[in-house]
Symmetry: C2
Subunit: 220 residues, 2 copies
């Protein structure tokens, strides 16, 4: 009994990426297809343009079918956001891992972040919707790092050099984040027109370069 099932399961797993063509009744992998289609809609027309019925129509499936795979529209978007968050983290850490020096690694993260915003505008837009991020513990974790950086800067009690140094370091980190976040958002919001991933990365490199060296003349 088990002998028969086991190979079956294996074969299916192996051939998974291949289309199952078939009867058009049972869709190959509707769940996957819904996520993919939604992402494309977000890229092209924004989050609000994602309609369950449109997705169904696009995939030539009845309007009720999507609800076999997602409890609600929100659930679909949250699932998509989680995929996006994973991809983003993987991309960014991969970029950082290629560099030894910690400061350069941080810079590489910033560049990768901007690049991600350009290459995956759908995911990026989705990941900047607060109400969607809040809907999942997994996603919430992504966004709770920045606040800690402010404390040393805003804390009025700069007693001693240690805390002044900490404030300076925090300000540097936050400046770097604000800069990369700002650049990414400017691009995503269309303020810089259409640009490709390479140009975006180049901009990120140049701007973080400015941040490193400073705007003011260095009169030794």
């Amino acid at each position: 009994v088990r002998q028969e099932r086991s190979p079956d399961v294996t074969r299916r797993a192996v051939t998974k990426p291949r289309r199952r063509v078939p009867s058009r009744y049972h869709h190959g992998d509707l769940r996957r297809a819904l996520l993919d289609a939604a992402l494309i809609v977000i890229e092209e027309k924004g989050l609000d343009a994602v309609k369950m019925s449109d997705l169904a129509r696009t995939l030539r499936v009845s309007v009720a079918a999507p609800f076999r795979h997602f409890e609600s529209r929100d659930a679909l978007l949250v699932a998509l956001a989680e995929e996006g968050a994973n991809k983003m983290v993987v991309d960014i850490e991969a970029a950082a891992a290629r560099v030894r020096d910690p400061l350069e690694a941080q810079r590489a993260r910033g560049v990768a972040y901007v690049r991600f915003a350009v290459l995956e505008p759908g995911y990026f837009k989705l990941l900047s919707k607060k109400d969607i991020l809040v809907a999942s513990d997994h996603l919430r974790a992504l966004t709770t790092s920045q606040e800690a950086l402010m404390e040393p800067i805003l804390g009025r009690q700069h007693r001693g050099r240690a805390s002044a140094a900490l404030a300076k370091k925090s300000a540097g980190l936050l400046a770097a984040q604000a800069l990369t976040y700002g650049l990414a958002r400017m691009i995503a919001d269309g303020l810089l027109g259409d640009i490709d991933g390479d140009d975006a990365a180049l901009l990120a490199v140049e701007l973080t370069g400015v941040l490193g060296e400073g705007l003011l003349p260095r009169d030794a």
Copy 2:
């Protein structure tokens, strides 16, 4: 005849800010009240929460009444955005005018921008909706400055020192904009939690300070 009207008009203009209390049939200034109410809703619950019928209910007026003053919901939002854009420009230029040195003036603009984002979160959110900005020539003009900065940076043909210098200057300006835009957006998007205008301004001062001096140690 004219003698009678003239003083009337004058008196009305002078006492305009005062409430006209009255019959509750003719609302004192429904147009103004609608804009104010919409702004509050945006601040508290976001743009999508602005419903014409809710505004009407809040102001104790029938659902049809708002349409006597605005052709459509969109028209109301555009009018509000125009007010916001005016206020923003006034605030920013006033801040810049207080400073002599051009570089410091630019920095003051950045600080004022961040402050505006915090003090007027409703206007700020509204002004970052692309489809609303596009709806008015007046607003479109606000957003078409950045793209020009990219050219010198991205232009592959860095022939001669002049263009290299230009690229450097553009990179500096764009870095400053990205940084302030990023900080403002981080705050508006709630990534930094609740902070007040003074803290926001302090953060902006500190971060632009970092940008001025540079992150890397200055080994003379």
